[in-house]
């Protein structure tokens, strides 16, 4: 047995623990539910923020501005309640990768004043690119942790 195998296995077992999975699900689900509420309440502002990224065509940006907050809410609730956990964590991880790419693109263009992730305020934000990347990578790691360590639930027919 390789010496490196022992801590790796311990870490792997730690992540598979039910309590760790539960905390990760509640944290990621809670963040997305919280993030969705203000966007659902004021979709016009969120549409403006997406248009301001200048990545998508206007029509697509409008559809995304209205539908994305609902997806965040639904997937977040699914994670918290514990249904479609693997699918929800995969979808949220994919969304986080897209958000990360959008933030980096906007930052490279030099126009990152607000990311529109939580607050709909369009005034300048104190957070820099590093903060946004660190936050999204942390949330992405939670999503992948849930996806790869979630045991498949097989419903008994008995």
């Amino acid at each position: 047995m390789n010496v490196i195998d022992i801590p790796t296995r311990k870490i792997s077992e730690f992540f598979k623990r039910r309590i760790v999975q539960l905390i990760a699900r509640f944290a990621l689900g809670g963040v997305f539910v919280y993030a969705s509420i203000e966007k659902i309440a004021s979709p016009r502002r969120f549409v403006n923020i997406i248009i301001n990224y200048h990545i998508l065509p206007e029509k697509l940006a409008i559809y995304l501005g209205f539908l994305l907050p609902w997806l965040e809410l639904i997937l977040g609730i699914f994670l918290i309640v514990g249904i479609f956990v693997r699918g929800s964590s995969m979808a949220l991880s994919f969304m986080l990768v897209v958000f990360l790419a959008a933030i980096v693109i906007k930052s490279l263009n030099g126009t990152l004043s607000t990311c529109g992730c939580f607050s709909m305020s369009q005034t300048g934000s104190d957070h820099g690119l590093t903060f946004y990347i660190a936050r999204d990578v942390f949330l992405l790691s939670l999503g992948l942790l849930i996806f790869f360590n979630q045991k498949k639930i097989i419903l008994s027919r008995n």
Binding site: P43, R44, V47, N48, I62, Y63, F66, L73, I77
Partner: protein, 129 residues
């Protein structure tokens, strides 16, 4: 409560939420096409009863029309933002109190192209940002 029932309720709520969001997006798109772009080159015509305009494609709420005055410094001209508002110069119908004497160039009922009319006033339009 039965776990399956909770699952079905959540799925129904999710589907109805997404459908309602899609319908709202559709109605927003039809409104969006009607909004006047005010931040492009030239002076746009904005009717006095308009509630929203577009500035560089972004929908902005109209706050107020003000009679145009010569501004020596324009720190708040869009896209610069001053405490949640900025201004653009637009054309609109003259307000009744600003008209003195008989109305000149009274539009005929057939005259529907307001942009071509010479009786429009220049306004400072304050919009949200």
């Amino acid at each position: 409560m039965n776990q399956k029932l909770i699952r079905y309720i959540l799925i129904v709520c999710a589907v109805s939420g997404l459908v309602s969001a899609y319908l709202r997006a559709n109605s927003f798109i039809s409104d969006y096409k009607r909004y006047v772009e005010v931040c492009s080159d030239g002076i746009a015509y904005v009717p006095k009863d308009a509630k929203f305009v577009k500035c560089n494609g972004i929908v902005r709420k109209i706050l107020r029309f003000e009679q145009a005055v010569v501004l020596e410094v324009d720190p708040c001209k869009c896209p610069k933002c001053c405490e949640g508002e900025c201004y653009v110069i637009v054309n609109s119908e003259p307000s009744p109190e600003s008209q003195s004497g008989p109305v000149q160039n009274s539009p005929s009922p057939a005259d529907t192209n307001f942009r071509e009319r010479s009786d429009l006033d220049v306004y400072v339009l304050w919009i949200s940002c």
